[in-house]
Symmetry: C3
Subunit: 476 residues, 3 copies
Amino acid sequence: MTLAKRSLVTIDDLSTGEIEGVFSLADEMLESTAKQSAVCRGKIMASLFFEPSTRTRLSFEAAMHRLGGSVISAVDIGVTSLAKGESIADMARVVGSYADIIVIRHPWEGAAKVVADYAGVPVVNAGDGGHQHPTQTLCDLYTIRKERGAIRGLKIALWGDLKYGRTIHSLIFALAKFGANILFYSSPGLEVPEHVIQKLIKEYGGELGKYQASDHTAKNNLFPLDAIYMTPDSPHQLAMVPDISFQVELKAGVDALYVTRPQKERFAADGEELKGKYPVVDEKVLKGKAFKKTLIMHPLPRVDELAYEVDADPRSMYFKQAAWGVPVRMALLALLLGSKKGSLSEEPDSSIHKIDYPAYEQDSGVRCPNPRCVSVQETEMRYIKPAFKIVDRVPLTLRCVYCEHGFEPEYVASSEWHHGGLENKKYHRADSHWTKEIKSENLIVFSSRSEAETRGFKPDHSVETGHSGKTGKEEK
Amino acid sequence: MTLAKRSLVTIDDLSTGEIEGVFSLADEMLESTAKQSAVCRGKIMASLFFEPSTRTRLSFEAAMHRLGGSVISAVDIGVTSLAKGESIADMARVVGSYADIIVIRHPWEGAAKVVADYAGVPVVNAGDGGHQHPTQTLCDLYTIRKERGAIRGLKIALWGDLKYGRTIHSLIFALAKFGANILFYSSPGLEVPEHVIQKLIKEYGGELGKYQASDHTAKNNLFPLDAIYMTPDSPHQLAMVPDISFQVELKAGVDALYVTRPQKERFAADGEELKGKYPVVDEKVLKGKAFKKTLIMHPLPRVDELAYEVDADPRSMYFKQAAWGVPVRMALLALLLGSKKGSLSEEPDSSIHKIDYPAYEQDSGVRCPNPRCVSVQETEMRYIKPAFKIVDRVPLTLRCVYCEHGFEPEYVASSEWHHGGLENKKYHRADSHWTKEIKSENLIVFSSRSEAETRGFKPDHSVETGHSGKTGKEEK
Amino acid sequence: MTLAKRSLVTIDDLSTGEIEGVFSLADEMLESTAKQSAVCRGKIMASLFFEPSTRTRLSFEAAMHRLGGSVISAVDIGVTSLAKGESIADMARVVGSYADIIVIRHPWEGAAKVVADYAGVPVVNAGDGGHQHPTQTLCDLYTIRKERGAIRGLKIALWGDLKYGRTIHSLIFALAKFGANILFYSSPGLEVPEHVIQKLIKEYGGELGKYQASDHTAKNNLFPLDAIYMTPDSPHQLAMVPDISFQVELKAGVDALYVTRPQKERFAADGEELKGKYPVVDEKVLKGKAFKKTLIMHPLPRVDELAYEVDADPRSMYFKQAAWGVPVRMALLALLLGSKKGSLSEEPDSSIHKIDYPAYEQDSGVRCPNPRCVSVQETEMRYIKPAFKIVDRVPLTLRCVYCEHGFEPEYVASSEWHHGGLENKKYHRADSHWTKEIKSENLIVFSSRSEAETRGFKPDHSVETGHSGKTGKEEK
């Protein structure tokens, strides 16, 4: 297995087998850290942090140094040359000609993909806004695998703010991919977003059941267990398992409890507040039978949601999680730089549906509606062409290839009609029957009437009457 | 001698013999800097600077590179993840799992001790607020020793702002420990604080005489010589030396003149101003007979207190002081990392009193009154338990183990009484006779009446009448 | 050839032969980058950036790492110890005792010279305000030479803002030194400053012709060709070439087109605005016959002046220019550190006039009038003595040795008169006949009457009557 010259922008850039390969090498790195100091000798890693993140940056830099490589780094770069109006692509090309690999953190969603597209060297996403932070997910998975031997079939509980927090959604998909079951203990109002749920079921298979908070959990000062995801491999599918029996199953023990802090800075941006209290995970909570042998995990930094008294508990894993970030990143860097070859896991790939969505590449004026997407920033629009995947027809849903944000455009048209020319050039409501009839390669979408009419399309009857009353909505 | 796995938080963490060992190794490092590039190969030093300090940081980083080690560094970290409410202890644990040694500068007094307590790797204090900066003191001592052969018995003059300035107090104690005599030329209003004087006499022995400024010095545009500390080893004790004879002694020459800049930013914080002028040390001042062979020292940066014309004078030592910071730090890092073993000096340890003060560990609600102490910061109070040493009974004085700030609590009680139970649960004024009668292990202190009464103690007669009229005062 | 222990403050610090030597070594570095990792092993480079510049800093740091050396760096240092009032000279001395070479960027013009004067180790200027950025010029020249084999006799077009922009003036002088012809396509109002033109003709020989914009160029959305510099070696001198024939010559092709961005931040500082539009260099512009085989160059970062569509054009050189910054800087660092010896080019030195201007070192109170000059900053005036070169007599012009800013002092006097004493101690208008009669070693200048009279000089008749009506002007 070679990952040489590859980039890691989202966790989906690696198959489960490749991730296992990274983990095997991480095991080796962990066992003999001191012996790795010639692996990347002479190589340079550039760490470009457009947002502060001491922990992640130092972990990557320590990993590179342990491999004998060198580091050039730029921190808080927002204020420098990029402020002169330089694009990310130009910066990526230039730094790509200085260094052998780039690690980037940037507030714009999709920025890491742009860097990977232009740098000419491997790129690792160390967090791009609210989009992805794949090496955090690798560290999380590695910790579970290392402590439990494997991930398949485990019961992993996620605790707290499951709405915001870039790491939690990546983790959900990654756990599903590895065949774990997931228990959602959400803070009220901070449940997993619907689009994550939809993607989970559609792309990873399995079933999801939603629950009402039981009195039992409320009494114990716990967040309510509001949903359960059962992997398709699971011996008892949800439909066959009444609530009561699952409670029994739960008592057999949760394998890991992944605690998150409330992302207050993101609530504020959305004009929201924390509803109700955010119970602290402490020794009392962990006395529950379900948590007897549970790994207590946290991506850190913590604030108040995880009591200091848990630190001394042998179940606490969060400092190991952080520490193991170094061997995991050592393995990743060595593989992407081609300094090491990995061994492919023998384990067959999981049963997830690899869906190859059709591309939308018409230049119809539609732009990603996510204001934090890299593709809509003034400096980047000079060279980035919008690009989407058509992920659903009902409702018609496009997903930006940069930030992976989904949205529902309001109007459609076809570039070709009934094997003939585009004679009448009409456009239609996206929720009309026309949408299903247009082939993907001919589909044109518009987000407004003026967008359509500027390009010379005329409204059909449904548009004029506003008949089905639906308006385009953002998925996320 | 091995210092492996030890930390250097205060200069007292090293005995004089150990310091001599560091200096011997520094001599070796200085003579053959280029040959040291394999000493710490494969080791990582983290430099964490929560306050800017280009000079100190670069000196440590240069030292680590000269030893062949690697550096990961975070500068101006106030604005990053710690702003999310993370504690210093969590940060220390995480970074301690990335690096082999940590160098920390932090504005909170006692912060370096907390890092050392939690990091799991050796920690070097590169300045914690107004508390300590021990490697600066090592560089100062090394310069004197290197130029004069030894420190014992020398006459060292301290010049200028002896009140503020973190390095000067450490230097005073270190000089005393090594058996030097100290001459205090203070800027009026910026004399050495009383608590430093008290500690000097009590813990290091020797005698201190205070002086009135003589006309002679005033005429020469010098600061007045306002106090002299004579080491216990000194052949002529102060009591035996009338002023006039000391003047003669002085004319025999001062060994070093340590110039400090007025710490204006600290005056301002205290709402003070510089009283009178701050005479510049220039060639004219140095024409004095007493300074004929004197080493002119300064911790740098200088502003106006030391004229540029002195730079060319062979007596000027300040650039050497800075340059020698590298070999001194090389020696220290190599020893703490266990990459080198030091040779113990044969010289017998000095005659200072090693006092083992009793610990105060009652949880009576008393907190360190120093607002810059790490133990009273909101993020740190979640896990730091206040801890003190009982350093005096009359007046009752506690010293915080974190910031080493001393203070006099106002009330006392006993957890056990006359070998009986704690029946009447009375509390007393700290300046009453009761204080002396309570055993250290039973002593409970309170800083206010409400603190005592919250815990169920009742005032005795002296408290009620307020009879001795004294109130608790801070030592510093 | 050895450059060991030398500094590079301005491009004039290197002869053309030495530059060729740097380039030969850069070729070697480029061909076998991976084999250079022992060249500077054990050496430390300090990069001190008082202004942000991610690109330049990372390029230097990458170069040092490729050579196997170590880096200590301080970024955005404005806010740290230097804010305490420390001088650049003190900082230079201290850092010079930590590192083996210093790379400095500083907003004050002439700052790099001060660092070089005091550091005790080689210093490379990475940009000192609007003064110089010599390694950028080296990269520009290297790109032309590498792509065209040599520089002598080429036609190099400069495009856009030729007034501001620190790199463009250095580039003009360097191109002249290497015997290139220069075409000036200036944005109206942003023409090359007169003092640059004057220096070009006087110090580098050759001829300069000025042009009116032809209709032809205006039609093509080009900047007007407003001046041409012909190197003295050029076969057809301008005087002999009528306009029309040069147009023919031009059609034979421009060798390189050097595009610059409008330095908006500097206009603003001067209270100016961009007059007219700034045409974008795009594929349409490059369709012109003159540009058929032209190297398209840009120092980066670009904003809008150079279209992204050009990136895919094989003529585009700007990313190579940036990439080759690493081997060029590797060569330079290795030579200055004495880790490599260069081979001197056999090519005879160009025909430029090496002028040795007389020094002005009288202490007459005259200071450089450039407010950004290092020599007039409060912290630096404590030790920097003003020093100038007398570069012209009519009008009398002095050039500051720090920032190389020229100016015309208003009054003159002589320290010695007609082989006699200085009896009458008169001072004169600088534009009077007296100026020419005073020997350089006796010349005293004043910038105001009070400056002269403070020193005991009395006005002569011309001063009293104000007869020739001219006032002192700044050259730049």
